[in-house]
Amino acid sequence: MSDVMQNLILALRNIGRNRRRSAVTILAVAFSCGGLAIFGGYVSWTFRAAEEQTIGAYGHIQIYKRGYYERGTGNPGAFAIPDYEKLKHLIETDPVIASKLELVTGQILFNGMVTSTRTQTASTFAGLGVFPSEDKRITEWNPYGITRADQLAVNAPFFSGAPELDDADITGCGVGIGLAQVLQLNKPAETKPATAATAPASTDGVDLAFLSSQSGPTNEDATEKTSLDLLVSPPAGGLPNATSVTVRKLVPRATKEMEDTLIKMHIRHASELLFPGQPLHVTAIILLLKSTDDTELVVARLDTLFSKEKLDLEYKRWHEIRPFFLRMTRMIGLIFDFVFVLLIVMVAFLIYNTQSSGIMERLGEIGTLRAMGVTRIGLWKMLVLEGLMLGLIGGLMGIGIAVLGDWLFQIINIVYIPPSVTFYAKLEVLVLRNPMVLVQAFTGSLICAVISSMLPARKAARMSIVEALRHS
């Protein structure tokens, strides 16, 4: 048996001497480690859910004509990209970018006025022209396996039924439920009173689930034949262009702002509305990547590509388009750091107390060991090893607690409505799906245990042998 193994066995037996005190300390380490891992898993879920939500709305990278991001939304015509197909081909066939790509698509963002003849209402709106099937692939991007909102039964009124858009339905559109409320699209036709529906949720005093459900397959009275008239100023000036769209669905959006203003429609219809008689124009080319980690590599390549091809284009990363993500992750990250420090300090004091008490009770033994020839550093190592074992046992139990917590969160199915959206999200902790949180919490426990054992071990090691032997 090696010296290391014998020292480990001795450390374990010493830990077992005062079982109650050691058990309390080990449990404190275990719950702190487990709690940190679970909280880390929650933070990880928050970050990834927000990342998925943001990328699901905007893609990883958006490419615009230079200047569009600052002043182009008010004048999309001046900043539109006319040669979309050519650029798309250039990106898709680039040897560096191609392997990282999930999808390249285009969109048109514009503003205008919307009126509903049926309800005699009008409002401003933000129009978004997309390729329906490609847009659907973006919204369904889910590399981390997080439970999506449309997979929750409680969200069925929002997401069930026909898709928002369809490639074959050029004139169809989806309307944000906030805008639908303004336009009173839920107002039943006079000849067909709406069937009462049971609403599962209410936000800001508005029964949004009910509102959305009016467009579902079970009750399509309100929107089945609802058409909206869209009015936009043509980019080249002149008279405003107008068109009609058919409301296919009232839908919640990733953000409240989008929900209150957005009408999503087929890109070819939007292009024809803004650029009548011209080939397809887009205001942004959207890149969806296989992995977010590749974002910097791809933008670096885009820089090279734009420069080489002399393209007057610029790009924005997903977190630049929605800075809320970084602000939110920084805030939650700080809260995590605060809790981490708080728990680590608590565990450190507990281990320090356990070790100090244990050493005080064993002064005679410490004197004996020193008399037999154990060096100061040898004794110090022995006592720190005991602290390390406390951390190790507690940390391993903490991992078990965290894994159990992960499983419990999976089966308990806690749902809530996150800030700024109107549908439910399932609360998850990404412990097993992000094992780094386990590594961090476990390593933190070990480091904390070792550091908090060092001081009492140092005191014991520096004690006079004769003084220690007096306590025999």
Binding site: E365, G373, T375, I465, V466
Partner: protein, 229 residues
């Protein structure tokens, strides 16, 4: 005494303690020599300085002045690390309260000094068992100290002190916590092992029975050596 026989030698050895503002002279100018393989007893009344002298001879404490030479080496000048190594190789200790490590078995307790000296595991195990058998506790090798009587514990402590074959064993009141029958048995055992292993013993004691068995008797009073015969 010829130099070749001298195992331990002190010269004007003194130890002062400070108790608040008072300086206590626990040992004052003690010069003595101890022969290899001798059975030496330090006796004297309580507070006479015999335990302090034993601690100094055992390199557990540093003298305020004077020198100690053991096997020709000036131990008073050694660093703490060197002293630890010296104690581990050359000295053995027996305590009044046995001072066995409670979480270790009798065998592991005896083996411990060998581990400190990095003796390979198989060898240390067999030597420890051999030593336990020598003190008559081979059958109790796997017992913890709490499962042994006082006499048995002290026998384990003797085995532990001797397992390294030290030049000198220092025993502080080894029979004080034992009844007379066990005390006598322990003394006989120490004599037997001394003869067998040719190890010197220095024992501090109040016990006249122990003192009567001394080959060399050192009597202390008020920190001074008053008799060395």
């Amino acid at each position: 005494m010829p130099d070749a026989e001298i195992l331990l030698e002190t010269n004007e050895l003194s130890k002062e303690y400070r108790l608040g503002k008072t300086i206590v002279n626990a040992v004052r100018g003690v010069s003595l020599g101890i022969r290899s393989g001798a059975f030496t007893v330090i006796s004297g009344p309580s507070g006479s300085g015999k335990s302090t002298l034993l601690h100094l001879l055992g390199c557990l404490d540093k003298p305020t002045s004077g020198s100690i030479r053991i096997t020709g080496q000036d131990v008073a000048a050694m660093s703490d690390r060197d002293l630890s190594a010296f104690r581990a190789k050359r000295l053995g200790f027996i305590f009044q309260t046995f001072n066995l490590i409670p979480v270790l078995t009798a065998l592991e307790n005896v083996e411990y000094p060998l581990r400190i000296n990095r003796v390979p595991h198989a060898e240390s195990r067999s030597r420890a068992l051999e030593m336990l058998e020598a003190v008559g506790l081979g059958s109790h090798a796997l017992h913890r100290p709490t499962e042994l009587s006082g006499g048995q514990c002290q026998r384990v402590a003797i085995a532990r002190a001797l397992v390294n074959r030290p030049d000198l064993v220092l025993a502080d009141e080894p029979t004080a916590n034992l009844d007379s029958s066990n005390g006598g048995m322990i003394m006989n055992l120490m004599h037997e092992l001394k003869r067998k292993l040719k190890t010197a013993f220095v024992i501090s004691t109040h016990d006249p029975m122990v003192a009567s068995q001394a080959e060399q008797k050192i009597i202390m009073q008020d920190g001074r050596l008053v008799d060395n015969t």
